[in-house]
Symmetry: C2
Subunit: 393 residues, 2 copies
C-alpha cells in the first residue's frame, strides 16, 4: 500500500483496489475513530486502508481499536458502516469538497513527511474544498494568534500576511476570529484567495465561526484551499481545535505567532510546529499587553525567533529551505553507543534540554555531554534550538 | 602600585606616595588625556599614576602619549599642570564631589575587574557625588533607552526600575531625558535616592540636561551616587556619551534596554555590557514602533534575552550570580593546541560567531568545531550565548 496511485476515479489499481475503494475505506476510518489515533495509524500502516477498514467494520480489529471504534460502530452492521463512509463522501461532494488520500498524487507528501519524524499523527485523509493542495509546505507561512486579539495584533497579522503573500507566499491559518481572519484577509487583499489556506476544526461542510462563512466561501471559491480531516457534519469542539493546530503548523514552513495569551491555544500550534521541525517565530508586542505574554514566553524559552516584519519571515524561510530534505535511514541510532547513547536517551523529542539538564538526566559529565551532542548533531540525531537540545528522530 | 591603600587623606603609603599625591596625579592624567586611552592605561599600569603623571607633565612620556597630551599641556609648565590637577580636585570639592581612585578601598574593584577581560578601558578615577560607590555590580540593574522614548517606554522603565528597586536592587542609568530619567525616578519613588546611580557624560560639577538638575541633585543629596570620569568643567559631547556608556554598563550586573531606535546610542551600552560579560536584556515592544527596533534587533541577534518584568530581570541576575567570580590564571591558552587553537583564534572577544561561522573562519570542519568548543568551554576559554560563541578571556 505504499505505492503511489493515479488520481483517476474508478481507475483499477494494484492489489485490485480502486482509488474509490481506498477513499471509501479512509472516509470510514475517519468516521469511526476520532483522529488523530496513533493506534489506528499504525494499523493502517500495517494492513493498508482497505483491509484495515474491512477489519474494523467487521469487528475483526484488535481489542483496543475495536473499543475505540465502538462508540461509532455499535448498533451498525458492516454494510451500514460502509454506507456511512460512502455517505460522507457524498455529503462532502454536495458541499463542493473531496477527500484527498495519501494514495493520490495530490497528497502533500513532502508536507506530511514531517509527521514521520515526530510524535504527532499524520491525517488519514483530508477533505478539501477549493483548488489542489500545494505539494509542499515550502514557501508557506502559518500565521496564528488569539481570536480575541487587539487592534495591534489584527494590524500586524494583516500586514504580515499581505506582505508575504505579495511576495509569493501562501498564508495558512485557522479561519477563526481575530488573528486568523486578519491573516487570511491580509493575504487575500494582497494576492487573492489563491494565496491562502484555511484549516478547519469541524466538518468541511460546516463553517465555524458562522460569521466567517463568507471568508471561508471566498477562499474556497477564489482559488484558495479550505481543508479538514474531520468527516462532514463534525461539530467544532475544544479538543478538535488543539488537534487541528498540528495541521495548521504542518502546512507552513514557518509558524508565526502574532498574539497569544499565556495559556492560549495558539501555543499548541507553536508546539506542533516545533515538534514538526518547522521554524517558529513570535511577534513581540507591548510587555503591558496580556496578549503578548505567550509570544514573549516563546522568545524567552528560545522556542521562537523574533518576527517583526515580512523580511524576517522570508529570511527564516530561506534558512529553512537551505536545510536538507528529510530522509529516513534505517535505524541510525544503532550506531550510537556508550556515553553518547546515554545522552541520546536523555534528549527529549519535543521541547529541549540544556547541556546542564542533560548532564543531570544522563549522569554523564557536562563536558562529555557536549562532545556527545556534537557527535549526535553530526549524525543528525540531535539538534540545538538556542541553548536547548532535542532529538531529531 | 598594585597594593591596596587605606583611604585616610594624607596617610603615608608605600613608596613614599600619599593618597593625596596619587589623587592629584590621577586628576592630572584625567585632565590632560581624554579618557579612555588604552595607551595611557598601559603607561599607568607600568609606572604607577604618580610617576606616569610626573613623566607626562615634564614631557618625558613616550612620543604617542606626549602627542595625545599636547593639546592640553602645550603652553603650560610642569608646575602649572600640577596646579591644574589640584584645581580640578578643588573644583570637584566645591561642588560636593570627590575623586575616587583605584588605590582606595572605596574603588569598586569587583565592578572594574570586568574591564581587565575586555577590550574596554577602565577609568583612571571617578569623580563621585553622594554616598560611597557600591563595592560591586551584583544586585544592580542598568536600565537604559532612548531620550525620545514613547509613553510606553517611560512607563515600562519606571515600573521596572521601581519593581527591582523595591526588591533591593540599585538602578543605574545616565540621567538623560526619557528612559534614563524614568528609571531613576521609578527607583527613587520605590526605594529612595539611595537605590540609584547616575553616570554623567560631563564634569561632575555640571548637569546635563539642565532640566534634570533637580533629579541629579536629589540623587546626590538623598543617598544615591552621581559619578563621572571627566574632570570638572567638561562639557557633554556626543563621543562622551558613547564612552560614558561603558561605565553605565559596568555598574549593572544586567543591562536592560527599554526602548531604542535602530541606530540608537543605547545600543552602545548594550554592546559594552556584552563586552564586559554582563547579561543584556531587551524589552519587547510593538513591532510598529520605531523605538523598539533596537530592542528587537538585540533579541533577533541573540545578544539580549527578553525582559518583560522585574522577575525576568531578577532571574537573569540570579543566573549571573551563580556564575563563578572572574579569575585570571596565567595564560590558560597555552594549553590550547591543534584544531582547538584554530577555533579559539576564530572566536571573537565580543558579539559571537555560530558554529558554522567558526567553521568558515577557521577552516576546521563544523563537527570538530563543536568538539573544540566543548573543550574550550570546559577550560572556561569560550562561552555560548544562544547560538553564538565568544572568547571568555
Amino acid at each position: 500500500m505504499t505505492a503511489k496511485y493515479g488520481v483517476g476515479q474508478g481507475e483499477q489499481l494494484t492489489m485490485g483496489e480502486s482509488i474509490d475503494e481506498i477513499r471509501v475505506a479512509r472516509a470510514g476510518l475517519l468516521r469511526v475513530i476520532e483522529p488523530p489515533s496513533p493506534t489506528l495509524a499504525a494499523f493502517v500502516a500495517e494492513h493498508g486502508p482497505v483491509l484495515a477498514w474491512e477489519k474494523i467494520r467487521h469487528r475483526a480489529a484488535p481489542g483496543g481499536l475495536r473499543r475505540s471504534a465502538s462508540g461509532r460502530t455499535d448498533g451498525s452492521t458492516a454494510d451500514q458502516l460502509q454506507r456511512l463512509a460512502i455517505d460522507d463522501l457524498r455529503r462532502a461532494s454536495e458541499s463542493g469538497a473531496r477527500l484527498v488520500v495519501p494514495e493520490q498524487d495530490e497528497w502533500p507528501a513532502a508536507t506530511m513527511a514531517a509527521f514521520e519524524m515526530s510524535d504527532l499523527v499524520a491525517p488519514l485523509g483530508l477533505y478539501v474544498r477549493g483548488t489542489a493542495l500545494p505539494p509542499e509546505q515550502r514557501g508557506a507561512v502559518t500565521i496564528v494568534g488569539s481570536r480575541a486579539c487587539t487592534a495591534y495584533g489584527r494590524r500586524v497579522a494583516a500586514e504580515l500576511a499581505g506582505d508575504v503573500a505579495g511576495r509569493g507566499s501562501r498564508v495558512v491559518s485557522g479561519a477563526a476570529f481575530g488573528v486568523d481572519a486578519a491573516a487570511h484577509r491580509g493575504a487575500m487583499s494582497a494576492a487573492g484567495a489563491r494565496s491562502t489556506i484555511a484549516v478547519l476544526a469541524c466538518g468541511i461542510d460546516r463553517v465555524y465561526p458562522v460569521a466567517n462563512k463568507e471568508l471561508i466561501d471566498e477562499i474556497a471559491a477564489g482559488g484558495g484551499v479550505v481543508l479538514s480531516e474531520y468527516p462532514p457534519g463534525t461539530t467544532p469542539a475544544r479538543h478538535r481545535f488543539l488537534v487541528r493546530n498540528r495541521l495548521i503548523a504542518a502546512f507552513g514552513a514557518v509558524t508565526v505567532v502574532v498574539e497569544a495569551g499565556r495559556r492560549s491555544g495558539t501555543i499548541s500550534t507553536a508546539n506542533a510546529a516545533t515538534e514538526l521541525n518547522r521554524v517558529v517565530m513570535a511577534v513581540p508586542g507591548p510587555v503591558t499587553s496580556a496578549l503578548s505574554i505567550g509570544c514573549h514566553d516563546l522568545l524567552r524559552k528560545g522556542q521562537a525567533v523574533v518576527a517583526t516584519s515580512a523580511s524576517d519571515v522570508l529570511d527564516a524561510m530561506g534558512l529553512f529551505e537551505l536545510s536538507p530534505p528529510p530522509e529516513m535511514p534505517a535505524k541510525p541510532t544503532d550506531l550510537v553507543v556508550g556515553e553518547t547513547a546515554k545522552v541520546y536517551e536523555a534528549l527529549p523529542g519535543r521541547g529541549g534540554r540544556t547541556v546542564w539538564e542533560l548532564a543531570q538526566e544522563s549522569g554523564v559529565p557536562a563536558g562529555e555531554v557536549m562532545i556527545a551532542l556534537a557527535e549526535l548533531e553530526l549524525q543528525e540525531l540531535a539538534e540545538r534550538d538556542g541553548p536547548n537540545w532535542r532529538r531529531l528522530r
